[in-house]
């Protein structure tokens, strides 16, 4: 018996996941005008989430999706602030408090970035534990970042934008996680919804409804 039969080959580090399997970088990561790339990517995420994430490459760095998400969040936050200002009965206290608004303007992007990293970490761990995903953290981060960046601008729509964006973000996140991680949709749904149900994520679902209730109450108060 030769030595080659007695000893297994030495272990090699696992290969990095490549863009193979027909996966390509999204429009945001390709050359072109930034506004056009943002709109095209957001449109595809919102209207064809399954095919977008099925075709999305799982590598390409954290930077481009991070920038996309921050742009979307800032656009959504600023747009929401401006639409609140234009309401006949005014906005929330924070919108009318210049100091609070300035603090929020600085803190929102920073907290969003931190939240994206931690949120995708939680999502990734749950996808590994619940769905047995073999993909990397980068895949989870890209799914969450493109979802958040695309749905956040919906906050601009008065009253219902928040709740529509929140619910659609959950739908997109489930479809995106299933396609990008190549796991069953049911298990992806458990991984996405578990933290949403257990830990205040209901705010995503009910925040918009509460907003509408508060605005409705304010409008009713002014009318009486």
């Amino acid at each position: 018996m030769s030595d080659a039969q007695n000893f297994p080959p030495p272990p090699v580090p696992p290969p990095l996941p490549g863009p193979g399997n027909g996966r390509v970088p999204p429009a945001w990561e390709q050359p072109g005008a930034a506004l056009q790339r943002f709109v095209e990517t957001a449109r595809r995420v919102l209207t064809e989430p399954a095919s977008f994430y099925k075709a999305m490459s799982r590598q390409g760095g954290l930077g481009p999706p991070l920038v996309f998400a921050v742009v979307g969040i800032v656009v959504g936050s600023l747009g929401s602030f401006l639409t609140q200002l234009m309401m006949p009965f005014g906005g929330f206290g924070m919108a009318h408090d210049a100091g609070g608004f300035a603090a929020a303007l600085v803190l929102v992007p920073i907290i969003s970035v931190i939240g994206l990293f931690i949120g995708s970490g939680i999502l990734h761990v749950l996808l590994m534990l619940v769905a047995g995903s073999k993909q990397t953290y980068e895949t989870s981060f890209r799914v969450l970042a493109y979802t958040v960046g695309s749905t956040s601008p919906l906050n601009i729509v008065p009253f219902v934008g928040g709740i529509i964006g929140g619910v659609w973000a959950l739908v997109v996140l489930i479809l995106g996680s299933a396609e990008a991680h190549e796991v069953p949709q049911g298990r992806a749904a458990v991984a996405v919804l578990l933290p949403a149900v257990v830990c205040c994520g209901l705010g995503v679902l009910f925040g918009g409804a509460l907003l509408a209730l508060i605005f409705g109450a304010a409008a009713a108060g002014l009318a009486s």
């Binding site: 272990p11 954290l62 206290g93 100091g99 931190i114 590994m128 980068e138 257990v198 205040c200 509460l210």
Partner: protein, 138 residues
């Protein structure tokens, strides 16, 4: 569990650096908020709707207590968050050492059975925290 130590491959995500930076940034924001920047109070929609605390209730106050060095208070406010903060501190110690020394990184490989046991442990910890918060009368 196979605990493997290896060098990062070119282009591989550096988790030690990433989570160290995220932790430092989060701590910075927490301290900035503690030092006077004002944000609206966090309203838990789950508690608002059901009257019960969610498993994340007390997170902000627990972090503030930790920033003040009141670990006991933080445990009482939310044991899960305090545990997570402790885990991050341990991670930061490890990450600091391997980053400064340019040492190989720990990359454990978990079997499917270990993953399943880990999932049940996480679930049990979350449920235990939730029961504690409800029993504590939040």
């Amino acid at each position: 569990v196979i605990a493997g130590w290896r060098r990062l491959q070119p282009g591989e995500l550096d988790h030690e650096r990433l989570w160290m930076l995220v932790g430092i940034a989060a701590t910075g924001v927490l301290l900035a908020l503690r030092m006077g920047a004002s944000l609206p109070p966090v309203v838990c929609p789950f508690k608002l709707l059901t009257g019960w605390p969610c498993v994340g209730c007390g997170t902000t106050r627990a972090f503030v207590a930790l920033a003040d060095g009141a670990v006991g208070t933080a445990v009482r406010l939310n044991p899960l968050v305090t545990l997570a903060a402790g885990a991050w501190l341990a991670w930061a110690g490890y990450a600091g050492i391997v980053l400064l020394g340019d040492f190989p990184r720990l990359r454990p490989a978990l079997s499917r059975g270990t993953q399943r046991r880990a999932a049940w442990t996480v679930l049990a910890t979350v449920v235990a925290t939730w029961i504690f918060l409800m029993a504590d009368g939040r």
